[in-house]
Symmetry: C2
Subunit: 313 residues, 2 copies
């Protein structure tokens, strides 16, 4: 029986193995993913992003608890693209969430950077596919920061949560279009701190400027104190309401097409490059090109154009 | 006269125009860059990276001053890949550096994210080429954070400075191989704060674990208080010493080859994708593929493989 077949029968150890292969970029993983793909499209994928210190992990932890109480199986993909200076914090977060380790209805998978730009987003999508094909009902994708990488990753979730904290001060002015556009629900966490209402009001004003059309989802701003479980049931209900909105409004189909387009272009970019680069390497053409560029005998733009002429039909 | 020719004659307004075209990804920019490329390879490119709050911009500002006093023309490329939550800070920094605005021997160019993964690194390299071809002697590339994007960008500098501050606490334990590997000089800035020596010692221990070979550069840890100009002349001397080491040890050639290889693969990845994507779009083949993927009639991996079969010779 293939790995994919075992995974479709619910074997969690096979799923963990495939995820490791995905993370290690083993080419064999692709064949398994092909088998799994027709079984995807059922899960509710929830993205959680926000600046460091906003309490995303505690929030995720409490969301797991609430979805579990509703009888849903919850998978978490924790993504850390920023690696160098943040390694410590993430480890602590993972340990905190490990209280769910003995619950067979919870599966937490961490994904670190492999020093490969853009690759993390691709691995995350593949790992979400594995959980989805297995029939996990809720998949939470949590990222560490709010950089471009994180936005790209959270963009592929059905429901994206943007978490802020009171007293961001000047920072809140600096929240630009990029992050406002991806937020389906905004959360002001640690809302027992002063200025929580002001932060919520400022966020609401900024969202208001985006003017959703008639019948469109208007992103709410929710107040939570995740540590004390305050506001978590309401937030969970809102997350579920957003998924229902996608399904009943027909937006779900539109969303699947956008997501498919992003995934296709991302894969195309990666695989095209890998194929052509391998061919040049096998032809022993790589070294002379690099040498010519380094010694200014050819410019890199012309060198690449010549490769395109030779390799693209 | 072409834009590139005007730039080679030192016309700064033409340089600014080309940089805007590069930032806006105008295809015309490539032809100008081809003309400029043979004139590159003379500047000393200095990278500055470190976590937010480590005082990178003040440090850069003082380095400008010191290099100017030595009669060198200094260009700065300030890169901000993290955009959403940090916009405010960067603006303040730029204003601070603007005291050099009336000095024709200083040119500061900011580069923000264009919502395009990996594109920032490519634009930075092109802008460095423009300054280099014009004969600017020192080019400082400063990034906002220490994420993967920043590491990729600073990796292409001859001399990379990694800036830390005392009392990073747990964070310093979390500095991983990625950032240690790119650092040619480590700077503990704000060294009048308590624990500066301890932070320096910890950094030295971590670098010690990397064991450079005989005759190799051993990355020093320097203490500075940039605001007070403390340690800046010594740091500048060390930066110059590192460039001399590259030149006299023969490492410069090796470095140019690594840099050329990175630039070539990056351009190849971008242009290959752009070319093939455009062809598929023109064939009106894109929409049916996306639709098939969204409705699970084909998986994205197989769809991409079929494109490769058709488009790659």
């Amino acid at each position: 029986m293939s790995l994919a077949q075992k995974i479709l029968e619910g074997d969690i150890r096979s799923a963990a193995r495939l995820m490791r292969d995905i993370d290690d970029r083993m080419p064999e993983a692709t064949e398994e993913l092909k088998t799994l793909y027709p079984h995807t499209g059922r899960a509710h994928v929830v993205g959680v992003t926000g600046p460091p210190g906003s309490g995303k992990s505690t929030l995720t932890d409490k969301l797991i608890e609430t979805f579990r109480a509703k009888g849903k199986r919850v998978a978490v993909v924790a993504v850390d693209p920023t690696s160098p200076f943040t390694g410590g914090a993430i480890l602590g977060d993972r340990i905190r969430m490990n209280r769910h380790a003995t619950d067979p209805g919870v599966f937490i998978r961490s994904l670190g950077t492999r020093g490969h730009l853009g690759g993390l987003s691709s691995s995350t999508a593949d790992i979400v596919h594995v959980f989805d094909a297995m029939g996990w009902e809720v998949i939470i994708v949590e990222t560490v920061g709010v950089g471009q990488d994180e936005i790209e990753i959270v963009r592929t979730a059905h429901t994206s949560l943007v978490v802020a904290v009171p007293g961001l001060g000047d920072d809140i002015q600096a929240i630009k279009a990029g992050i406002l556009e991806i937020g389906d629900i905004f959360v002001v966490n640690k809302a027992d701190r002063p200025d929580a209402d002001r932060t919520a009001r400022e966020l609401e004003n900024m969202i208001g400027m985006n003017h959703p059309g008639e019948g469109e989802w208007f992103p709410p701003v929710m107040l939570t104190v995740a540590q004390k479980y305050d506001g978590i049931p309401e937030l969970t209900d809102k997350i579920i309401a957003h998924f229902e909105y996608l399904n009943t409004s027909g937006k779900r189909v539109e969303f699947e097409e956008i997501k498919s387009s992003l995934r296709f272009t991302e894969l195309l970019r990666d695989r095209l490059f890998a194929r052509v680069y391998q061919q040049i390497s096998e032809d022993n053409a790589l070294e002379p090109i690099i040498c010519d560029i380094a010694h200014r005998r050819v410019d890199p733009y012309t060198a690449v154009e010549e490769i395109l002429k030779k390799k693209v039909k």
